[in-house]
């Protein structure tokens, strides 16, 4: 029996009259890498926010490792051991790389241990040269990388990433891909992305969102070959 780390059941989210998510059922196994794709407005980011606790769903339930977490606040979900990275780089601009990563590690470890783990993470990400630099002075790609470090340093068993590759150079993307694969050794990873190139390079199973609902869920190759998915992406009527 494989452990289910994330499950949504009948998840529905409405904003006024707009239905952003409509009865989404999704299951994720331990150490699975899952990509959520779909055109703009398909509801994948809304789903992500519901799971991360940034939004409270109108209906339905969310379970993590069998525990219901519907309506929990982000910090409660993160405390379970869930690493979350939002769409735009969400870091402490006025603080150094080391201070940023230390704070993330401090949540689960003592101050001294947090420092050791932080330094180890900086080495792992090869950020040693800029460890004392304030985040605000770094390039976009470096900031994304630091944020991934913030997520990884907490040793999560579930990682939620919203468009991690957006606006990054090819070189940075390669590094990112490597880190994501490394993460899947210990954690299940959910990646929300619309860059097909990137998805092809990392994905196995893909869930396609369309008009707030799950259109299909299958291996990346079969999804890419599917005519309905192609139509959705090209804007034709499914």
């Amino acid at each position: 029996m494989v452990e289910i780390v994330l499950e949504s059941s009948g998840l529905t989210m409405r904003f006024g009259g707009v239905v952003a998510n409509d009865n989404v059922n999704l299951k994720l196994q331990a150490r699975e890498l899952r990509c959520l794709i779909g055109p703009n407005g398909a509801g994948k980011s809304t789903f992500f926010k519901c799971v991360a606790g940034l939004l409270t769903p109108s209906e339905g339930q969310i379970f993590m490792r069998g525990q219901e977490v519907t309506g929990w606040r982000p910090h409660q979900i993160a405390s379970l051991g869930v690493g979350i990275k939002t769409q735009t780089p969400n870091v402490m601009d006025g603080l150094s790389v080391r201070e940023n990563i230390w704070m993330a590690a401090r949540r689960f470890h003592s101050a001294v241990e947090a420092r050791e783990r932080g330094d180890a993470m900086i080495d792992r990400l090869a950020l040693g040269a800029i460890a004392k630099t304030d985040l605000g002075q770094l390039a976009h790609g470096e900031r994304q990388l630091v944020e991934l470090g913030l997520v990884a340093v907490g040793d999560p068993w579930l990682v939620l990433l919203d468009e991690p590759a957006a606006g990054m150079s090819a070189e940075d993307v390669a590094r990112m891909t490597e880190i994501i694969h490394e993460l899947t050794r210990t954690a299940a990873v959910v990646v929300v992305e619309h860059d097909m190139q990137f998805i092809r390079s990392i994905a196995e199973t893909v869930t396609v969102f369309h008009q707030g609902a799950v259109l299909m869920e299958d291996h990346v190759d079969r999804v890419m070959a599917d005519q309905t998915v192609r139509n959705v992406y090209l804007g034709k009527k499914a």
Binding site: H75, N90, G94
Partner: protein
């Protein structure tokens, strides 16, 4: 990285000892005492605003609450030790309740400002309308607009007849400020303090790391109020009367101005800003050519426009450029906290 803790403490102690010894030769101790008290009040807002990103428009409320708590308790107990403790605890508790209401309600910037402002106004209006004999707490009449005069002032613990006043009271306040300053230093070096700075920089990120941001902001808010309450109690002892003007808007406004002029994100800035501006106001109050308020206003406008970081960070920056090291008043050297200041 940061200077070692021991060196920081040593510098603080040596510099403050010299200042405490020399200052009375320049300014009378009676005036100095109130400058020190204002410094402590400035530090209380400097802590929660400069390091925690919480812009409180009603820091004066906690100051007033501390002063009133002291006065009421001192009348009832006839000695000053327990009242001093209560003057710290009551504002802190009040702030914890208020903070929990605001921060768990996810109120930010302007809305936070409105709530703190409104609560201050409510306290002011309430205290101001308690002139009638029915408003009594124990033996203490609240007195409304008149305030409460004639309470027991600071005495040696256990001996209500041994008053600490005059020069002795000046040294008492100065030492109190040094202790509070050191406590704030420790707090900011602790994990709690460092994460508070993280919250100022990016609340969402800290929450996504798994920290309970609302709880942490509430606690920091409470600590700020405790310091303001202590300053209030010291002020009550200095003035020997408490009046509702402690709660009013201009009082809270001035605290914000002290912090801006002195420098946010530093420990020393708000203290120097408070003492400096209060002394300037005192000097200006003795002349009548130019209106006092006009100058205060002009200073605030000019600082926001031309020196928004305040005096201490500006000098600290100069020091850093000239000597290649940190100025002693600075900690967690941050660039301007755009997010915290601009919502």
């Amino acid at each position: 990285m940061q200077t070692p803790v021991s060196k920081d403490i040593l510098t603080t102690l040596v510099v403050s000892a010299i200042l405490i010894w020399l200052a009375p030769y320049v300014i009378g101790t009676y005036t100095l005492t109130v400058l020190i008290i204002y410094g402590m009040l400035g530090l209380s807002l400097g802590l929660i605003w400069g390091f925690g990103g919480i812009l409180c428009f009603g820091q004066g409320a906690f100051f007033g609450l501390g002063a009133y708590t002291y006065a009421i308790a001192a009348i009832n107990f006839g000695e000053s030790t327990l009242p001093m403790v209560l003057a710290v605890l009551v504002p802190a508790t009040f702030a914890l309740l208020l903070g929990a209401m605001m921060f768990y309600g996810r109120l930010t910037d302007v809305y936070l400002g409105v709530i703190t402002l409104v609560v201050t106004l409510i306290l002011f209006k309430f205290i101001n309308s308690t002139a009638g004999p029915q408003y009594v707490i124990g033996k203490a009449r609240l007195g409304g607009y008149n305030g409460i005069p004639g309470f027991q002032t600071l005495n040696v613990p256990g001996n209500p007849d041994a008053y600490i006043w005059g020069d002795a009271y000046y040294y008492f306040c100065a030492v109190a400020l040094v202790i509070v300053f050191l406590l704030v230093t420790f707090l900011l070096r602790s994990s709690f303090g460092r994460i508070a700075v993280g919250i100022r920089e990016n609340e969402v990120r800290i929450a996504l790391m798994g920290y309970d941001v609302a709880a942490r902001k509430t606690v920091l808010f409470g600590i700020g109020a405790a310091i303001a309450g202590l300053a209030g109690a010291l002020f009550a002892n200095w003035g020997e009367i408490v009046t509702p003007t402690l709660f009013n808007m201009p009082q809270s406004a001035e605290i914000i101005i002290w912090c801006i002029v002195g420098g946010l994100g530093t420990r020393l800035g708000p203290i120097l800003g408070a003492a400096g501006l209060a002394y300037m106001k005192f000097l200006l109050g003795q002349q009548s050519t130019i209106d006092n308020t006009l100058i205060t206003g002009l200073i605030l406008v000019l600082f926001v426009l031309f020196l928004p970081k305040g005096v201490v960070p500006a000098f600290s920056g100069l020091w850093k450029i000239s000597f290649g090291r940190r100025g002693f008043g600075k900690m967690h050297d941050t660039r301007r906290k755009r997010r915290a200041r601009h919502g």
